[in-house]
Every structure is written in structure tokens, then in C-alpha cells.
Amino acid sequence: MESEELFQYIASLEAAARPSEKPSDLPTIEVPPEHFLSLMQQLREDPRLYFNMLQVHTAVDWVKKGIFELLYQLYSTKDRQSLRVLVELPRENPVIASVCSIWRIAEWQEREVYDFFGVLYEGHPDLRRLFLEDDWKGFPMRKDYEDDFMLEPGQ
């Protein structure tokens, strides 16, 4: 499917999803957090789309805008089609529905994002730190993370 066609089809499934205007090198849609889970469910199960791989899930901390931008990059082995889904969350209370039940790999990708950014996933069966110790203070990939241990060149 061409990206225009894809966007139109997705919009017919879930009205809240709209093509993103952010600069991006893949077909990208944006969706508000409240419609997120139902959209993802349909992207996975709709026979015309059938995105069966969740290739990338990560987050970006836009500290100046006060948001976390979550990225879900999907791939369909049927059509060899990629789609990027962006979700924006407020930095103060970053909570979003978990997609573990749709793609199993999400369980660990979401744990990684929680570990680095502190994004909370609702409905995650086992949300805990992945790389760092359980008692680690703060979320290191946030732009305002401070740690006495970190060194700048020349220090």
C-alpha cells in the first residue's frame, strides 16, 4: 500500500489516528493515548494490514516541550510494509496502555522504556527495571537526569 492509501485506511479504522507532520523517513501516524490500544489491536488483527512484528519501541524525551514521544515501529511480513506510530505523553504523569497482549516482545521493550524513561504501562504483567538495579534512583535516559557518577570530558 502507498502511504496515502495506508493513512486513509487507518483513519477509516480509527478516526483519532492522523498522519504525522513531524519530519520522519517512514509512513508515520500519530494517535492520542486514549485511542492507542484499540488502534494497535486493529493494526495487528486487521487482515489488510496485519502488522505482525513490533520492530522498535522506544521513547524520546522532549524536555523543553514537556512530553515523552513514544515510538512504535510495526512491520508486516505479509506486505513488507512498515508503519511508525507516535504517541505523546505528558512528562509529569506518563502512563499508557501496554501492548504486551498483542506482541509478546513488547513486555521487555516496555520494561526497557520504563527503566530508561519512567514511562508507566498499564496492564503490564511484570513491570520492573530491566538493566538497572531495582533501587536505582531516577531514570537515566531522561534529559534532566543528574548523577554525580557521570563525568564530563576534562573533569
Partner: protein, 386 residues
């Protein structure tokens, strides 16, 4: 909204509280971080019932070096050398992932000479990575000798690469806009000599290990994963291909010279450890085929289009591209603000995504099966932890 964040302690407690149908007492045992068959510092907490594995809880982070954080402070050329240290067995291919993303984003055109060299060295590296995987699998299965045979043949490839690149393991060779050095005058001759040497050796490998009935018993019908699970688990590379999914980026979205050479994608039928093992053996053959087609006609041209000192920026936006490394898909995702350093750099590493299929495959098997499964996944732990 209230989301509960648990801890490792809580996880193990709740896992133990699950009522078992077994009449014997289940217990936890700690495998790693220092254990000979976890290939590094992977830690697995196993819930065992006698010898039978009931649950596997991987615990990561024993080699988490915060490469993504460092990348945010590094220029794109500096990121290339960090990628060497992630999956050190396919260092060149990791370099290529960064180079490809940056080239695509900054619209740098490369020439055919560069792409040929990149393809040849990548395939050489894929061979030596699979050689090591073959040997380590043998060692994990209790046969120590294949390990050293694999190393012996790997060493010869390292020598060839060292002449051109100057390093043995952390290559830092493929750069945005070319390769660091031109190929050594002896490169073509030595690669041909090596291929002539290694082809019969591969048959010897098969005689030594593949033909062994004990090994076949250990690997066949162990750790079966169907295609649906493998895709849902996000597995890629030989692990996914062994489950009958012909997903190989070299064929699907050809990069480098892969579009112009003939080769076949090896896929398995059952998705068990044996298929994962044999897919790698077959990939070595296909890699040799690719090199043979390219080695004689490397076109003339420049090998480095952008000087290492030149400033390199990427236009604002989100950029992603991926490479098929020896273990699967390595994707590099950049969020750029138009500066020399990325705003956010994320590595979609193959091993991180391959590891978790372990939690689906291991329960129900023996401890020996678990070792076979870990071995057949061919994990490199620093690539998981980054």
C-alpha cells in the same frame, strides 16, 4: 491511574507462590552472571523441578554500559566506534548500520567500490561469527574440540581483515561516506585462498559435529518455536529463519551489493535447535557464494568520499534503517535536531530481541536443553545490554 512497579524479589516470590502440579518441591537456582554457558554475564534465574525447567527469569544489566546515553554526546563518527563494542562478533555490520542511517539521512551517495568492499568484509565477518557460534555450540554440548577448530579457522579471517583494517575485533571500518582504508593489495588473493581452504573444512565441520548422533539427539525437537511465536517475540536472523520465516533483509530490502548477487536464504522447517544450528552452517555456504561473485570484480573508485575531519550533520527528523547482521536485524534510530550529535540514538539490537524467545522455549525441558537453546540462539550479551 495506578500502575504497580514490581521488583525482582517480588517476581521470584510470586513465581514460587504459583501452585505446582508436581509432587516434588520446586526450587530456584541461579545461573550466572558468571557461568560458562551463558556466554558472558547473562543471569538466568531458573525455577526447577528436579532437572526439569519450569520457568526462566532472565536478569540483565551486568554489562549495561549506557551506550545510548554516551551516543547522545558523541558525533556520528564516534558512535560508529561504540557500535563495535555492542555485538563485537559482527562489528563491521554494526558500523554499517550507523553508516547506512547517516548516509540515508544526510543524503550521501556512495559508489560501487565502497559497497562491494562493505559487502565482502561483512560476509567475511558473518562467516567468522558463525564459525565461533558453531564452536561454542560444540563446547556447550560438551565437545571441546570443535571450539578450537572454529577458532583456528576464524583466526585466518581475522588475519585477512587485520591486514586491511588494522584491528582484529573492534574494526571501526565502515564510516559514513565510505570505508576507513582501501583494501590491502593482497586482500583479493588471500580471500580467494581462504575460500578454497574453508570449503572442504566446512564439510569437515559437518563430519565432526553435525554427523554426530549424540549431537543430533541433543538438538532435534528441542526448543521448538513456531513462526507465529517467533514473530510475536520479535526474533530475527537465523532464529526467525529457522522457524520457517524467510525474513532476510539482504533479500527483502537489498542494500550494499546484495541486490546484484545470487544467493539463497536458508530457512529451517521445524524451528528447533537443530534448525537454528543448521541455518548457520548453510549461511556460511551462502556467504562464501556471495564473496565469490564479488571478489573478482571490485570496481575502481574512491574508498572514502567524506574526509574523517569533515563536519557531518543530519537534517532534523527521525531516521531509521536496518542491517542484517550475523544474529539478526540491527536497526539504528536517530532523532536529530540538525546538530552534529543526535538528540536521541536508539539501537534495535538483534540479541535483545532474540533472547526472550528463551522464556517461551525453555520451560518443560531439562537443564541440558536450556543450555542447548541458549547456545542455538547464539547470544552476545553486550549487545543485549548495550
Amino acid at each position: 491511574m495506578n500502575v504497580h512497579v514490581s521488583t525482582l524479589d517480588e517476581k521470584t516470590r510470586s513465581s514460587l507462590a504459583i501452585e505446582s502440579h508436581s509432587e516434588t518441591e520446586e526450587y530456584f537456582i541461579n545461573m550466572g552472571p558468571q557461568h560458562p554457558s551463558t556466554h558472558g554475564v547473562l543471569r538466568l534465574i531458573l525455577k526447577l523441578d528436579g532437572e526439569t525447567v519450569r520457568e526462566v527469569i532472565p536478569v540483565l544489566g551486568y554489562i549495561h554500559r549506557s551506550i545510548e546515553k554516551i551516543s547522545e554526546y558523541s558525533t556520528y563518527r564516534q558512535i560508529v566506534h561504540l557500535t563495535d563494542r555492542m555485538d563485537y562478533l559482527s562489528a563491521i555490520m554494526n558500523n554499517w548500520a550507523v553508516a547506512r542511517t547517516v548516509e540515508k539521512a544526510a543524503e550521501i551517495e556512495t559508489n560501487e567500490r565502497i559497497e562491494s568492499i562493505r559487502t565482502i568484509v561483512s560476509e567475511l565477518e558473518r562467516i567468522h561469527s558463525h564459525q565461533l557460534g558453531w564452536g561454542v555450540l560444540g563446547m556447550d554440548m560438551g565437545a571441546f574440540t570443535p571450539f578450537l577448530y572454529g577458532f583456528r579457522d576464524r583466526e585466518m579471517i581475522t588475519d585477512i581483515l587485520e591486514e586491511t583494517i588494522g584491528a582484529r575485533l573492534t574494526m571501526n571500518y565502515i564510516q559514513p561516506g565510505g570505508v576507513m582504508f582501501d583494501i590491502h593489495p593482497d586482500f583479493v588473493r588471500k580471500v580467494k585462498e581462504y575460500l578454497a581452504y574453508f570449503k572442504p573444512k566446512l564439510d569437515e565441520y559437518e563430519d565432526l559435529l553435525s554427523g554426530n548422533p549424540i549431537l543430533q539427539q541433543r538438538l532435534r525437537n528441542v526448543g521448538i518455536m513456531d513462526a507465529e511465536t517467533a514473530l510475536s517475540m520479535g526474533a530475527t536472523g537465523p532464529v526467525l529463519r529457522a522457524s520457517r520465516v524467510p525474513y532476510d533483509l539482504r533479500k527483502i530490502e537489498p542494500y550494499g551489493m546484495y541486490g546484484e548477487v545470487e544467493f539463497r536464504v536458508a530457512i529451517g522447517t521445524a524451528g528447533d535447535c537443530w534448525d537454528r544450528y543448521y541455518v548457520r552452517i548453510e549461511e556460511m555456504r551462502q556467504s562464501m557464494r556471495i564473496i565469490e561473485q564479488l571478489i573478482d570484480n571490485i570496481p575502481e573508485g574512491k574508498f572514502l568520499l567524506k574526509k574523517p575531519a569533515a563536519k557531518l550533520t543530519i537534517p532534523e527528523g527521525r531516521h531509521y534503517s536496518q542491517i542484517e547482521t550475523a544474529r539478526g536485524v540491527l536497526g539504528f534510530y536517530i532523532v536529530s535536531e540538525g546538530k552534529e550529535t543526535p538528540y536521541r540514538a536508539y539501537f534495535r539490537t538483534p540479541n535483545f530481541h532474540n533472547l526472550w524467545s528463551l522464556t517461551a522455549m525453555a520451560p518443560g525441558g531439562r537443564v541440558g536443553d536450556l543450555v542447548a537453546i541458549i547456545s542455538s540462539l547464539d547470544l552476545v550479551i553486550p549487545d543485549i545490554d548495550r
